[in-house]
C-alpha cells in the first residue's frame, strides 16, 4: 500500500469572505510518497492554493491538512520544521529570488535553517552543480536571463534538501531545451527519493511524466488517479478546460485508423512508434555507459551519442565533447532504436536503473530494445 505524504480532508479555503464560491471547495486528496504527482487544472482552478496548504502558507477555513499522517500545526516552530522538509518553487522566479547574487540566494534557505557555514557551502556547490550554474555563482541575480533565474530558484529550493519538492508550472516561460533539462533534473530527484509534485496545465508534460494526477476545476477536485482514465473521458477533459495530450490523441487515432488496441497507452513518441512498428522490423541497440567520476573511454564508432544526468553533462563539457543528444537523450536513443539504428547513451551511474526501467517499458509495446553495457 502506498504511503500518504499529504492528505487533505474536506479542505475549504476562501481568499475573502465575499467570495461566492470558495477557492477550494471540500477538496479531499491523497498525495503518495515517492509517486510522481501532477496537479492539473486550467488557470484559476486552485492548483497553487492547494499546494500552499501543503506547506502551511494558507490555513484552511475548514477541513484538515495532514503531513506524514499528522495534522499540520500552525505555530511558528511547527511551520519552520515543516518548511525544512518541503520546498516550493514558484512559477515566476523573480518572486522567489531575493538576494543580490546567486550564491547569496541559494544560501538563503539553508541559513534560515541555521546550518553551519561548511554545510551551507557544500549545499551551494551541490545545488549549483545540479542545475548547471556553477560558473554563475557570484553573478548578480538581476543580470541573469529568465531561464537562468528559474534555475537559480530551483537551486535555492534544492539547497534545503527537501523531502518534498513542489514545482509550480516548472516549464512555463522556458525554451524547450531548458524544459527538458528541468524535467531531467526532476527525474534525478525522484530517483534520489524526493517526492516531487508538479502543478501545471501542460497536459503533455503531466501525461509523459506523472504516475498520478489530481485534476481541479474552479476549486473542486474532479479526478484523482492514473492519467489514462481521465484523458479517456473526453467530456471531463473538455469540462476542466484542458486538452488531450498529444501522444494520447495520436494513440486514439492509431486505434481508429489502424484498428490497434488502445491499451497499453503510450506516453512517448518512441512508444507510439514502437506500437505501430510492423512485425519483423529491426530494433536498434542502445549501448549504455554509466558514468561515475570520469568519462569512460568508449569509442562511439560513429553512432549517435546521448547524455543523461548532471555528472555526465559536466564531464562532457569539461572534455569538450559534443553529444548528439544533449537533452531528452533516452527518448532520442529509443527513437533511434525503433528506427533500427544503434546509439550510445552515457548516463550518471545512479540513474542507470531508471534508464533501464524506461528502456524496458518498450517491451509492453511489443518490441524489446536490447541494452549493451
Amino acid at each position: 500500500m502506498k504511503e500518504c505524504i499529504f492528505e487533505t480532508e474536506n479542505l475549504v479555503y476562501s481568499y475573502s469572505t465575499k467570495q461566492a464560491k470558495p477557492s477550494l471547495d471540500n477538496v479531499s486528496v491523497e498525495i503518495h510518497k515517492g509517486v510522481r504527482t501532477a496537479i492539473l487544472g486550467a488557470n484559476g482552478a486552485g492548483k497553487s492554493t492547494l499546494f500552499y496548504h501543503f506547506n502551511g502558507i494558507f490555513k484552511p477555513v475548514s477541513g484538515t491538512v495532514k503531513y506524514m499522517g499528522k495534522p499540520l500545526e500552525y505555530t511558528r516552530e511547527a511551520l519552520t520544521e515543516l518548511r525544512n522538509d518541503i520546498s516550493v518553487v514558484v512559477q515566476n522566479p523573480d518572486e522567489q529570488i531575493f538576494s543580490a547574487t546567486v550564491e547569496e540566494d541559494i544560501a538563503f534557505g539553508p541559513m534560515n535553517m541555521g546550518m553551519e557555514r561548511d554545510e551551507i557551502e557544500r549545499r551551494i556547490q551541490e545545488s549549483l552543480f545540479k542545475v548547471g550554474m556553477e560558473e554563475y555563482r557570484e553573478r548578480p541575480t538581476i543580470q541573469l536571463s529568465y531561464g537562468q533565474r528559474k534555475r537559480v530558484a530551483l537551486a535555492g529550493a534544492l539547497a534545503i534538501s527537501p523531502k518534498v519538492l513542489i514545482l509550480d508550472e516548472p516549464t512555463a516561460g522556458l525554451d524547450p531545451q531548458m524544459s527538458q533539462e528541468v524535467i531531467e533534473l526532476v527525474e534525478q530527484l525522484c530517483e534520489a527519493g524526493t517526492t516531487v509534485i508538479i502543478s501545471t496545465h501542460d497536459v503533455d508534460l503531466a501525461y509523459a511524466w506523472a504516475e498520478e494526477i489530481h485534476v481541479l476545476i474552479h476549486g473542486d477536485l474532479v479526478y484523482s488517479g492514473e492519467p489514462e482514465p481521465f484523458f479517456d473521458d473526453h467530456e471531463k477533459v473538455a469540462m476542466t478546460g484542458l486538452v488531450m495530450p498529444h501522444t494520447f490523441s495520436v494513440n486514439s487515432s492509431v486505434q481508429r485508423i489502424c484498428g490497434r488496441e488502445v491499451a497499453p497507452y503510450p506516453r512517448t513518441n518512441s512508444q507510439i512508434l514502437c506500437k505501430m512498428l510492423p512485425e519483423g522490423s529491426r530494433i536498434g541497440k542502445i549501448r549504455l555507459v554509466p558514468v561515475e567520476d570520469s568519462l569512460p573511454d568508449v569509442p562511439a564508432e560513429g553512432l549517435p551519442t546521448g547524455i543523461y544526468g548532471a555528472i555526465t553533462r559536466r564531464l562532457f563539457r569539461a572534455a569538450g565533447r559534443e553529444p548528439d543528444y544533449h537533452f531528452n537523450a533516452i527518448e532520442y536513443c529509443l527513437m533511434d532504436a525503433v528506427g533500427g539504428k544503434d546509439s550510445v547513451l552515457f548516463c550518471d551511474a545512479p540513474m542507470k536503473d531508471r534508464v533501464l526501467e524506461v528502456i524496458g517499458r518498450m517491451e509492453a509495446f511489443g518490441k524489446k530494445v536490447e541494452v549493451v553495457m
Binding site: 506547506n55 518548511r83 534557505g109 541559513m111 548578480p140
Partner: protein, 273 residues
C-alpha cells in the same frame, strides 16, 4: 539593460568590490572634507588624481553613458554656479572687471575669480572621488555597511528590498511604457498625461501584487524576519583607518604648503590684476 542595471553591473565587476564598503566610504568622505577645508588650489588636483586613479583601478573608467551625461550636466551646473561666484565679488576690493549687464551688476575681483575656480575644481574632484565609491559599491554591500554601524536592521533590510524590487518595477514600467507607445498612448499632450497617470496607477497596483507574492515566496523559504547574509563584505579594519588618517594628514599638509601656488587671476589676466 536598464540604466540602473548598468550601474549595478559596473559595481559588481569592480576590482574594488571586495574592499570594505565602510572603509571606502570613510576614505572618500575624509578626502572630500580635507578637499573642502584647505584653501590650496593644488588640493582639488590631488583629490581629482585620487578619484581618477581609483576609478581607473576599479572599472577602467567604464562609466555608463547616462552617468557620464549626468556628470557632464553637473559640471555644467557647477560652471554656471562658479561663474556667478566670480562675478559677485566683494565691492570693498578692487575690481578686475566691473560692468552692468542688463539689470545685473557684474563685479569681478581677484578673490572672487580665484574662489570660483577653487569651487569648480573642488566640485569636479569631489565628483571623481564619489564616483569611484559609487561604481565599486553595490547597494547590498552598502546595506551591510549600514548594519556594521548598527543602523537598525529594518532600515538596512528596507534598503535591500527597495533595491531588489525597484528593478522589477522599473522593468515593468519599461514594458508598460513600450506597450503604451505601441497603442499610440503618447500622441498629444493630454493623451500623454492620461497614459502616464494610468501607467503610474498600474505600477502602484503591480507593486502591491508583487509584495503579496513575494511575502508568500519568503514564507515558503522559511523566512525568519531578517535577511541573513552568507558572504558579508569585509568590515572596517584598522588598515582603513590608518590609510585614511595618513591620506588626510598628507593632503592637509600638502594643502598648507602649496597655498597660493596657483593664482588663476594671474593666469587669465596676467600681471595687471
Amino acid at each position: 539593460m536598464s540604466e540602473e542595471m548598468q550601474m549595478d553591473t559596473l559595481a559588481y565587476s569592480s576590482r574594488m568590490l571586495k574592499w570594505a564598503p565602510l572603509g571606502k566610504f570613510l576614505f572618500v568622505i575624509a578626502v572630500l572634507i580635507v578637499n573642502i577645508v584647505t584653501n590650496s588650489m593644488m588640493v582639488p588636483f590631488v583629490t581629482l588624481a585620487i578619484g581618477l586613479v581609483l576609478m581607473a583601478y576599479s572599472t577602467n573608467f567604464k562609466i555608463p553613458f547616462f552617468v557620464a551625461l549626468a556628470l557632464a550636466e553637473a559640471v555644467l551646473i557647477l560652471a554656471i554656479g562658479c561663474g556667478m561666484i566670480s562675478i559677485t565679488g566683494d565691492k570693498a576690493d578692487p575690481a578686475i572687471w566691473d560692468t552692468n549687464l542688463l539689470w545685473f551688476d557684474v563685479y569681478m575681483t581677484h578673490d572672487s575669480f580665484n574662489k570660483a575656480w577653487l569651487v569648480m575644481f573642488r566640485g569636479i574632484a569631489g565628483m571623481a572621488v564619489m564616483m569611484s565609491f559609487a561604481t565599486s559599491t553595490p547597494i547590498p554591500h552598502l546595506s551591510q555597511a549600514l548594519k556594521q554601524v548598527h543602523m537598525p536592521r529594518e532600515v538596512s533590510e528596507l534598503v535591500v528590498l527597495i533595491y531588489r524590487y525597484g528593478f522589477f518595477l522599473l522593468e515593468r514600467l519599461d514594458a508598460m511604457w513600450e506597450a503604451a507607445h505601441c497603442r499610440m498612448g503618447f500622441n498629444g499632450f493630454m493623451n500623454t498625461m492620461k497614459t502616464t497617470a494610468s501607467i503610474t496607477v498600474g505600477i502602484f497596483t503591480s507593486s502591491s501584487n508583487l509584495a503579496d507574492k513575494a511575502q508568500i515566496a519568503l514564507d515558503c523559504r522559511n523566512y525568519q524576519g531578517y535577511f541573513p547574509i552568507y558572504n558579508a563584505p569585509p568590515k572596517l579594519g584598522i588598515k582603513w583607518i590608518l590609510v585614511t588618517v595618513a591620506a588626510v594628514a598628507l593632503i592637509y599638509v600638502f594643502g598648507i604648503y602649496t597655498e597660493g601656488w596657483i593664482d588663476m587671476t594671474k593666469l587669465f589676466f596676467g600681471g595687471s590684476a
